[in-house]
Amino acid sequence: MTDATLSIRDLRVTFKTLLGPVQAVRGVSLDVHPGEVLGVVGESGSGKSVSFLSIMGLLGKNAVIEGSAKVGDVELVGANQKAMRRVRGSEVAMIFQDPLSALNPVHRVGAQVAEMILAHQRDMSKDAAANRAVELLDLVGIPQPEQRARQYAHEFSGGMRQRVMIAMAIANNPKVLIADEPTTALDVTVQAQILEVIDRIRKEMGTAVVLITHDLGVVARMADRVQVMYAGRVVERSDVHNIFHESRHPYTRGLLGSQPTLGRERLTPIPGAPPNMLQPPSGCAFRARCVHAAPQCAGDLPELVQVGLTESACVRANELEALV
């Protein structure tokens, strides 16, 4: 498919540390299309956040980024600061996990949103930007936007601050909105409201959304397609229904099994811990924790292959149906 808004090919991120290179992302490829929600799922340290921080150029100087990430025709990997700044916010915008500290405490909320508009649309007047800011606050469902725009961040609840962050993120109609665990710091009812807001923006503005999360409930509710990451690689990819019902990767199944569901008494956690990425294991990185591990898993790095209804990077994906 060539109409992808964001297209990542073979992205690799390595951190130079005192202990040696840490391979945080090891060859990730993906496409996000307009108006689509791509769910990116995985444990902590699976490289899901790092992948997207790297293409935004928000990682420190010790990160080495290889591969390709294109928004339209603009290549992000290796782009200079100036080009990067133009892309951030206007082409790709990002919202973060912790809205509590993501707003500047000394400026009025409306002014911060207006500032984001002015950062990219310099010919706009300050009054116009302020009015637009109020519109945006209204769009993300903040009641009494005129009054709220004149308040400070400490007068907003967590959910309201995340709405403000979303307003800032969509201020310049970005083509892609990357939401890095946008609801993790919020309680469940607020979470539902925030997801609603993101969904409405996707529908109304045709924004492509990348939803990074470890909450499969959020993915089930929001995503059109899902990709599951483990140890810096994509291990399974499919549309959302098949991930939940037709998974052909033991790790995805492990994630599903460790998720609380009504009517099930006990959770089945995945034993062990993710591998140390200073020395990533050869072959399938999950095999040390996998109940179906076999000698052939230690061979080459498994690639994504269409098996049944999903693309799975498990060498035993074909046999898996019989094994369970």
Partner: protein, 328 residues
């Protein structure tokens, strides 16, 4: 599993009256800081005292009884020197028959101007160096901070001697700094020796702020470095800068007194004096027992320093976000 989750969740309509509630009046961080400052008893009293002093000092010709170099009455009308306090001279007179009270007010004028200008100079220079070092980091940070360390290692009197003695023949130095006894010379000298604390403070502040999420969020949404510096880092450091400014004023006034004590004080011309010079002169008043020449300038100096220090303490507490909880 999917069915269980995708059940529509009833969301309250954010625009309905029920969810609007009553908005409390908005309070800016500045106003909150002011409120905390007012709650700081010592700082509030100090501020009131300082304002009184400033009014007296600023309106000097009106609030003083005599000129700075004027005797209370001509020597021909009787002895006017070293008189103990009486109705014509509330604080007594000095060895030249001049009113001590008037001289303290005029002296405070000079001292406070030196303090203020030195503090402003130090804070500007310190903020520039510290902000640059903290924001840019890397080798620039290393170099700037080592330069700061070098300046910190310089003792005031040694710099004074070097600048006075060795650099006075360098034409651009004397053009810039003026006569070694001028107020300008002292202000520049004290600035050279006074900016390092501010630089370190601001560097730390900027380094810390730079990692805060709102700065990262701003960068993720395409803010330029300039914007981040002037919209995010600087406004969030204003409190710290104010505190530094306050303490720099005290430091400069004390340093002026030190220099005056060693005989390097300001000579503002035509008998002008400063608090430091008055305190130096009191040395000669001790053996004959002219207590007023010692007590009044000393006490005034202490009150002035204490007031500014307390205000600095109050400001520091007021701008400290950890104090937020205590505010009702």
């Amino acid at each position: 599993m999917r069915d269980a989750i995708s059940d529509p969740i009833e969301l309250p309509d954010p625009h309905s009256d029920a969810s609007i509630g009553v908005l409390k009046t908005s309070m800016s961080p500045k106003r909150m800081a002011l409120k905390r400052f007012v709650n700081h008893r010592a700082a509030l009293i100090s501020a009131i005292v300082l304002v009184c002093i400033i009014i007296f000092v600023a309106l000097a010709p009106i609030t003083t009884r005599y000129g700075v170099n004027e005797t209370i009455f001509p020597a021909s009308e009787g002895p006017n020197q070293n008189l103990a306090p009486f109705d014509l001279a509330w604080f007594g007179t000095d060895g030249n028959g001049r009113d001590l009270y008037s001289r303290i007010i005029y002296g405070a004028q000079v001292s406070m101007l030196i303090g203020l200008f030195t503090a402003i100079g130090s804070v500007l220079l310190g903020t520039l160096v510290g902000g640059l070092a903290g924001y840019k980091g890397g080798w620039l940070d290393d170099i700037l901070m080592r330069v700061t360390d070098i300046f910190l290692a310089l003792p005031l009197l040694v710099v004074l001697v070097i600048v006075r003695g060795m650099l006075k023949n360098v034409s651009w130095v004397s053009t810039l700094m003026g006569d070694p006894n001028s107020v300008r010379f002292l202000v520049i000298l004290l600035t050279i020796i006074g900016w390092m604390g501010v630089a370190r403070l601001i560097r730390g502040q900027v380094k810390q702020l730079k990692e805060r999420e709102f700065v990262e969020a701003a960068r993720a949404l395409g803010a330029t470095s300039k914007r981040i510096m002037f919209r995010h880092l600087l406004p969030n450091s204003v409190g710290q800068i104010m505190v530094a400014l306050t303490f720099a004023v005290v430091g400069a006034i004390a340093a002026e007194a030190t220099l005056s004590f060693f005989g390097y004080g300001p000579d503002a011309g035509s008998g002008m004096t400063s608090l430091g010079l008055l305190i130096r002169d009191s040395k000669r008043a001790v053996p004959p027992g002219y207590w007023w020449l010692v007590v009044f300038p000393g006490v005034f100096f202490i009150i002035l320093s204490l007031c500014i220090n307390f205000i600095g303490d109050g400001l520091r507490d007021a701008v400290d976000p950890k104090m937020q909880q205590e505010l009702k």
